[in-house]
């Protein structure tokens, strides 16, 4: 067994074990932290595969962004150190079944798909290549999906501002980001 294989199994074990702990723990904050470890494990797998850019982006987006948001929403809504009530046995079985179905679906797909290597040379995942691909409009370029995703994000942002606004008649003309920040201050202070 090579050293690299051992590292793969270690990372996989970290990802899976913390993933299982994230859904089985009864303290919601611990669940968020185990989710964080699971995501870090996936970032570690990307590093293991030498996709350093993807790994760094995984950490920025999921660990630095989404998990912090989750933790913040727990801070603002939950009480510290309280255990959640135990779920009904029927629900447990149902959710386990749902998870198993999803897993089975993925595994069936993976086994049915014939992975053929050497069809075309893989693009080396440097930042230059990723940037060029992302913004190129030619063959194999991702300019259109990229822009569509940015539109989606814009829509989400506008939606957030609309939700965060106090009343639509009162503060339409004011700068919208300011309202967001004020909300944040009210919460924190």
């Amino acid at each position: 067994m090579e050293g690299s294989t051992i590292i793969f199994y270690l990372l996989a074990a970290l990802t899976l074990v913390s993933g299982i702990l994230a859904v089985s723990t009864r303290q919601i904050f611990r669940a968020a932290i185990f989710l964080l470890f699971s995501l870090i494990g996936i970032a570690g797998l990307y590093f293991w595969m030498q996709f350093q850019f993807i790994a760094a982006v995984q950490i920025v987006v999921y660990v630095g962004g989404i998990t912090v948001l989750i933790i913040f929403s727990i801070f603002l809504t939950q009480k510290a150190g309280e255990k959640m009530p135990k779920q009904k046995i029927g629900r447990q079985i149902f959710s386990a079944l749902a998870a198993f179905c999803g897993f089975a679906l993925v595994m069936v797909q993976v086994y049915q798909y014939t992975f053929s290597s050497n069809i075309n040379e893989a693009v080396s995942p440097t930042v230059e290549n990723i940037g060029n691909r992302m913004l190129s409009v030619g063959e194999g370029g991702f300019a259109l999906p990229f822009e569509v995703v940015s539109m989606l994000l814009l829509a989400a942002l506008v939606g957030c501002i609309v939700i965060a606004m106090r009343s639509p008649t009162e503060t339409v003309n004011e700068e919208k980001t300011e309202i967001l920040i004020e909300e944040e201050i009210d919460v924190i202070v």
């Binding site: 303290q27 932290i33 870090i40 760094a56 933790i71 801070f75 944040e184």
Partner: protein
Amino acid sequence: MWSFHNIANFVNDWLSQTFNPTLVTIIEMVIVGVCVIGLFAVLGLVLVIMERKVSAWIQIRLGPNRVGPKGMFQSLADTLKLLVKEGMTPSGADKFLFNLAPYIAMMVAMLLMAPLAFAKNFQMWDMNIGVLYITAISSVSVISVLIAGWSSNNKYSLMGAMRAGAQIVSYELSAGLSILSVIVLTGSLNINKIVLSQADGWWIFKGHIPVIIAFVIFIIAVTAETNRAPFDLAEAESELTAGFHTEYSGMKFALFFLAEYVNVFIVCAIGATLFLGGWMPFHIGNWQGFNHVMDFIPSSIWFFGKTFFLIFLIMWFRWTFPRLRIDQLLNLEWKYLLPISMFNILLITAMAIGGWYF
């Protein structure tokens, strides 16, 4: 000639001749780990005594002057005290997370050391995306603060953690944008390439006013990101006792303390690498003679000199300015730093396209 590069090569050659490759890799990893831990210990001791002396002189005091010559062993004595103190865990705390938090803070600081170029050809991991890696990993450091604040089961801690979270998340933006300005000029995320691109002058001189603005914004943003005064709301002792580490004592507190100082060192090292040329000696354009004279000073001295200059700058800020209020803090970021740095990055992009730099 003795340089870090030669020593590292010598050790590598000797190990490769004596052991088989797998063992060599493992031994080298252990050596690097021990060196990093040693560097941490030294940095902790040096930075704490430096901070205390600088603060004393700025406030017209003498500072520690009892332990050792001129009080230079004061931080050693403090470390000894913290080592023998009992590390308590409050009974209402989430014990697992409470004990985990300081180690996460420490691990993040250790991971951040990897892509730093300490001297010429002396780097732990010369990765393709060095700068992005640093911004990514440093965003994890907020997690340790949040865990510590939550698991202490203490209102002050929770408050401090939330403030720290809001602060770090918002100041990451302008820090990232000012880092981006140098990346735009260099065209690479690789730390080594960024340093080499400054062989004919550091970016802060080559890029004139826009890069100087980016540098100032970077310094302000990283001061906020490392939770130091005037942005130390997370541990404001007059309001929140000690913020997120109120409940920590003994060695666990020492780890937080050490991680804070190591983070200061790391952000200053990044600032030195991006704006002041890292290990690159002071070069001016094509003045071969002058550049050659500067090359006689070893590259590690240049790197540590610049880093400690920036650390001094941050300490100077800390002991000069009063603490900001939370609304002032967020106003500063969202109404001043972020718009200015966005405009600035447009300017720098135009500069990079037009080639209007030296």
